[in-house]
């Protein structure tokens, strides 16, 4: 993704950026200071895309005003006679105004799509990856082999209000019938677009090109038909980029321009507005490339949980593959009761260091659902929310693993033989090779004690080997992602200095073990030697900003701490508020089932983290 507009990064010194989210519009100011690029001020205001104030620019201006007040600078047009009142004042003149305004958007629930393909694991999965990678929420994924009757598909889609439909299916030279059947299904269901009563819903046809004109004949009367290159030209080739570009183009010029106030907002920024998750994905990919590591990032919101990853494929070139998934009904407020339903009460209760009746959990979480802005007052209430967070993260990651499989991301190939050898596509998720986990969202970024953020990430993701943990300080990754399309160096600088808050590093040996067995020996640069024993979780301080060289030696030939079974290695650990965590609890993590044992075990983990349970 790159900006179409020519902007000279060297001439930028002050940039105003917003993320127009579902609930809140967050504005930040990026400035070139004597210390380099920094994020200096931040403001927020409720997003305004629904009645009675259905104009996104009102919320954006309110957020700008807060930044303006806090910074004490003039950043906006103030002439009440002018239509431009409240918009970013450009060009900058000395200390007045800004050089650039950029924005991302997920207001109104973000970009929502229906995708269709012939085979669930193949063309439908490709269509899903294209939509998700472009920052969409997939409302439904139709496959000829999805086990539903035609009328069931039609009934389901008929009531959806998507922004865009994407049809894949049929390799070049392959089936004509199926992509046409998919076109017929869309026509039969006749879903209506979310915005604009007169807008014709865009349908991207990225299936077998031989059926393109006939699909056009079926759909063109009722839909905005957009033909693109086949997303899966052959079984061994995936071609996501053209469909993704078409999605972005339609999002910008077709969908957003019909959303309330967006025409005006688009006029304020010379840089294309992109969906919030697409901007976060951009930032994650740039960070993975810059530091040459594998990254897992999560944004857990009130309604949804987004997971982003960059893992290397198993091909010779070890190609970096980006994936993004969104679990549309896993969140900490609006969707909190759904986490309860998907995980079950027992799975949530297992993380609590105190007794709590199942019905009490059900009622408390539903009360959170209906009063989403309320916050935990007691420690018990806080720990219950953090228990829910662990389960939401775990479930969203399970979802991510199912989609983060071979062939994803940029165009690449594998041999046809592989397809027949593997019953299922090979997972890209490599926990032992994972270098960094970044958490964001209120429950992680604003936890009263950052050690508990590290604890949540540790329990939910069960990292293996050596993994650095961090949180996004104020959910700035969307702003940085869109800014990076203009000035990647500045965005990277702010990312490291102001966005990422290091929590520490976890060392987790994996391999079969007996109780209390020494799994690995960690020799620290200051002379301390830590033995990681099975079933234990221990910690030592390493403050934020500090790094420490360590030497790690597995205690048995089958134990792997990241360099391979039995292999010793040296590495550098990054400090943070949680310091270094030595996790010998094993994978998969087991929590005792008996109540008394569970309470004692979980309390022990809290003690290890230095988190007092009152």
């Amino acid at each position: 993704m790159s900006s179409d507009t020519k902007i000279d990064p060297a001439k930028l010194a002050r940039v105003l950026a917003t993320d127009c989210g579902s609930t809140t519009t967050k504005a930040v100011l990026f400035e070139l200071t004597p210390e380099g690029w920094r994020q200096t001020f931040r403001g927020e205001a409720p997003t305004t895309v629904e009645r009675p104030v259905a104009d996104v620019t009102i919320g954006a201006t309110n957020a700008f005003l807060e930044v303006q007040e806090l910074s004490g600078r003039t950043l906006l047009y103030a002439d009440a006679e002018q239509e431009a009142e409240g918009s970013p004042l450009r060009p900058r003149d000395g200390d007045v105004g800004v050089d650039l305004y950029v924005s991302t958007s997920s207001a109104g629930g973000g970009l929502q799509m229906i995708v269709a393909g012939v085979v669930g694991d193949m063309t439908t999965a490709s269509a899903e990856r294209a939509a998700l990678g472009a920052g969409a929420i997939v409302m439904d994924a139709i496959s000829i082999d999805d086990g539903r009757e035609q009328y069931e598909r039609v009934q389901k889609i008929r009531h959806l209000r998507p922004d865009i439909v994407l049809i894949a299916g049929g390799t070049e030279g392959g089936t004509l019938d199926h992509p046409l059947e998919l076109a017929e299904t869309i026509l039969q269901a006749d879903p209506r677009p979310r915005f604009g009563e007169t807008l014709r819903l865009p349908v991207i046809y990225a299936a077998n090109s031989a059926a393109r004109e006939q699909a056009r004949g079926i759909l063109e009367g009722r839909f905005e038909f957009v033909a693109e290159e086949n997303i899966r030209p052959s079984l061994e080739e995936e071609n996501l980029a053209p469909a993704r570009d078409a999605i972005h183009e339609l999002f910008l010029h077709h969908v957003m321009s019909h959303a309330p106030g967006y025409k005006k907002l688009l006029g304020w920024s010379p840089v294309p507005i992109i969906p919030t998750p697409a901007a976060v994905g951009e930032m994650v990919q740039r960070a993975a490339e810059r530091w040459d590591i594998q990254i897992l990032a999560v944004d857990i919101g009130g309604a949804t949980t987004d997971v982003f990853s960059v893992f290397r494929a198993s091909d010779e070139a070890r190609t970096a593959v980006f994936n993004r998934t969104v679990s549309a009904n896993l969140g900490m407020s609006y969707s909190v009761a759904n986490v309860l339903l998907e995980a079950g009460e027992e799975k949530i209760r297992r993380w609590l260091p105190f007794e709590c009746a199942v019905n009490e959990i059900r009622d408390r979480l539903r009360n959170k659902m209906i009063r989403p802005t309320s916050i935990p007052y007691t420690q018990e209430d806080l720990l219950l929310e953090q228990a829910v967070c662990r389960e939401a993260l775990r479930l969203a990651f399970e979802h991510h693993k199912r989609l983060a499989v071979g062939l994803a991301g940029a165009q690449r190939q594998r041999t046809i033989g592989d397809l027949f050898v593997q019953a299922k596509p090979e997972s890209l998720v490599d926990m032992l090779g994972l270098g960094l986990i970044i958490g964001s969202g209120g429950v992680l970024s604003h936890a009263p004690d950052r050690r508990s953020s590290a604890f949540m990430l540790l329990d939910a993701y069960e990292p293996e080997g050596v993994t650095r943990l961090a949180v996004d300080s104020i959910f700035m990754m969307p702003h940085l992602g869109v800014f990076a399309t203009v000035h990647p160096e500045a965005a990277a600088e702010i990312f490291i200095r102001d966005c990422l808050v290091d929590l520490g590093t976890v060392i987790a040996p994996v391999g079969k073990s007996k109780p209390n067995m020494v799994l690995a020996e960690v020799r620290l640069a200051d002379g301390e030697v830590v033995l990681i024993r099975s079933g234990t979780l221990t910690r030592r301080e390493l403050p934020a900003g500090q790094r420490m060289q360590v030497s790690i030696r597995p205690a048995a030939r089958h134990i792997n701490v990241g360099a391979g079974p039995g292999a010793s290695f040296e590495t550098e650990l990054v400090g943070g508020e949680a310091g270094i965590l030595f996790d010998g609890r094993g994978r998969p993590l087991q929590v005792p089932s008996s109540a008394a044992e569970r309470l004692a075990t979980v309390r022990g983990w809290y003690d290890a983290l230095g988190l007092e349970v009152r």
Partner: protein, 377 residues
Amino acid sequence: MAQAYAPALEVSERTIVRKVRELPLPGKHLVQQGQWVEATTSVLAAELPGDLSIIRAADRLGFEVEDVMRGIVVSVGEQVVEGQELARVKSFFGWFQSALPSPAAGTIEFITEANAHIGIRHAPIPLSVDAYVQGRVIEVEPGKAVTIETEAGFIQGIFGVGGERRGHVVALAIPPDLVVTDQVLAEVNQPLDNAILVGGATFDQSGLRYAAEQRVSAVICGSIDAPGLADFVGYEIGVSITGDEPVPFTLIVTEGFGRLAISERVRSLAKQFHGRNASVNGATQVRAGATRPELIVPLEPAVDRQIVQEAGQGRPLEVGAKLRIIRVPYFGAFGTITALPSEPESIPSGARVRVLRARLESGEEVTVPRANVELVP
């Protein structure tokens, strides 16, 4: 932010309520600005596209696609009636003929050469939108929406299931913390058909079943517990977007989940509105532009307009304002704000947040996060 507003559910004796009635697609408006409408008056109408039948002609006739395509006798855009011939195919040098009758009346929307599928669009389905509340039409967006305004008693709940319904208000003469059973309802000395029952902490299974048997329109009570809601709806609700549940009547809770007494204010207003016709909707959407369930009781216009407040006006947090706490450990308690410290303070969870101090009805002085209160009139 110059002024902090706390969320609050509206509970008003008399207020101005405006309801925007919208069509999901372009259509026509049936009323004019200034017109008086009843709740049942149709105010908007449109035609939804009819269903689409897809006829797999080659499969149906048992011939190759190319043969069927040559035998199709209708064209795109043509109107057909049920039984009308769509295709005729000859075989064996014309000795045998097969005809394909149309299974439905409609318009030919497409004929696909690659698979000989024929799409027939059925006649449009008429759709009409009623006024939902009695009142006056104050705005018309031609072909799209109308706004109805009414002076009404207005009670918002915190959560509901089931959609728009109408009925007459029946205030249950019971204590606010009572669990309503079938026996309690059997003692109500009036027909419950079409009633909007208001009262009690919660309805147990027997009470809900009895209400359904009596064909009530709605139940408004303090709370419901999670298992009770799942039993009533037939499944567990995971996301707070409701209104389309297949339930026998609309259910609205004013306080939340668990067992919580209905508020005194709702109870006393219900008594005042007893016997009046009202509109009710359980639809809840707890997101930006939140939708809360509601009871609207249209009233004769007040002589003195000064006493009428508009619904939906936020109120500022200020010393002396009455509040209700919406989170444990003081969940459901009422009190009065005694101080609004400007600096964030630490709370037992360990977080530093903006707080307020309040004196509860019990006399206890408490400090709670500002986010955990809602103002009450």
